[in-house]
């Protein structure tokens, strides 16, 4: 009998989710396209005035990326619940929090990372100054894992329900308000030539905390949500 080792289990879960994402690579492209198109709609809806667009560029990119992630979040556990493989994961003799951390990592790699890669393009389309771009990317690198982690906890809570992603949006908003404020604050400060390190540092601290606590909370939430 070959005992299952913890590293092997982690690797297997991560690998599984990445493989599944790859099999559906069309779906990876979707958040990116969604963000692209929403960013495209704004000039149509607001009129193509460069100064106005530039003024709102940072904020619109942030909100767009956030919405795109929100859409993808909903699917984080859905298929696993539907086909019963989440039950199997919960029943496996491995620390659930760690397994879920792997799933969250895979989710971030497949949804947030592509969004971060195209963010400069979006920002460029809305005429964000090049100098601010670095700060925007840094802010996204801090903010998106936060969203993945917080989102995972909430998705786990809704795991036992048949609700759409809307409820998730409602629950996530209060949690992501601080994240958006800090991220947008950093970008705005950079755009005005003010120091922007403080908000980024705050985000970093919060991220470190979330990295430790969110998987545990996620596991607890999942056990509550499945017990019906």
């Amino acid at each position: 009998m070959n005992q299952a080792s913890l590293p092997r289990a982690c690797a297997e879960v991560l690998r599984r989710d990445l493989t599944l994402a790859w099999r559906r690579r069309g779906d990876i492209a979707m958040p990116v396209l969604y963000a692209l198109i929403v960013a495209t709609l704004f000039p149509f809806a607001l009129g193509p005035e460069d100064a106005l667009l530039q003024r709102i560029a940072g904020g619109v990119v942030l909100v767009t990326v956030l919405l795109a992630m929100l859409l993808a979040l909903d699917a984080m556990f859905r298929s696993d619940i539907e086909d019963g493989s989440l039950e199997q994961l919960v029943l496996a003799p491995q620390p659930l929090a760690l397994m879920l951390a792997m799933k969250i990592l895979a989710h971030w790699l497949t949804t947030a990372l592509p969004l971060i890669v195209v963010a400069p393009l979006l920002a460029g389309m809305l005429h964000l100054p090049l100098a601010v771009m670095g700060v925007l990317l840094l802010a996204l690198l801090m903010a998106t894992p936060m969203l993945s982690l917080l989102g995972a906890v909430l998705v786990a809570l809704t795991a036992g329900t048949r609700r759409s992603g809307m409820l998730l949006a409602l629950m996530l908003l209060p949690l992501c308000v601080p994240v958006v404020i800090f991220a947008a604050g950093a970008v705005a400060a950079a755009q005005q030539g003010l120091p922007w390190v403080a908000p980024i540092a705050w985000l970093g601290a919060a991220l470190a905390l979330a990295l430790v606590l969110a998987p545990l909370a996620c596991a607890a939430a999942l056990r509550i949500a499945l017990d019906a």
Binding site: M1, N2, L20, S79, D83, G84, E87, L91
Partner: protein
Amino acid sequence: MTPTDAIPLLQARGLSFLRADEPVFGPLDFALHAGELALVEGDNGSGKTTLLRLLAGLLHVGEGELRWRGRGWNRDERAGDVLFLGHQLGLKMDMSPRENLRIAAGLHGTRSGRTAASVLIQVGLAGYEDEPVRRLSAGQKKRAALARLLLLPAVLWLLDEPYANLDRAGIALVNQLLEEHIAGGGAALVTSHGAVSFHGGEPKRIRMHG
């Protein structure tokens, strides 16, 4: 033949599950020893599925008491000892049977001397190892899920209607799996409506009604 003097693997005393404070099934008392098979019998809606999900640890005990190897009923005690196969098979539709087994093996470990390939041949999926599960028929999916039983190490099997959707060869396969498992000192709880023709002795019966 069954070692009733030994500490039972699983023991239930006055067990029931409450939904909206109403018991779904009456208080149950039973004990299951290593090397025993128990058939869970009852009409449609009598609570068989509920019982199995409870024993798997997905639902929490409503009233009564459960013991595992004579000790308390908590997750760490049972870790790795229980395999559950429910109405939902827990297969990823976009992956092949082989890949699905590989993941399960990563989480649970494997029995010595078993490999995904050999196990898939044994359940009759030779030639379908690398087909996405989505493209398999209802019975083939069931077989892919059954392969997990062969590959993973576990003492107690909880099988919810394992015979459904299977043809005669498939039913014979399930019976053979059960016999080998019992003979090897495992235990199993099986719900089923069909007649289970079991060679290694008369199985225990757990009646859900009355």
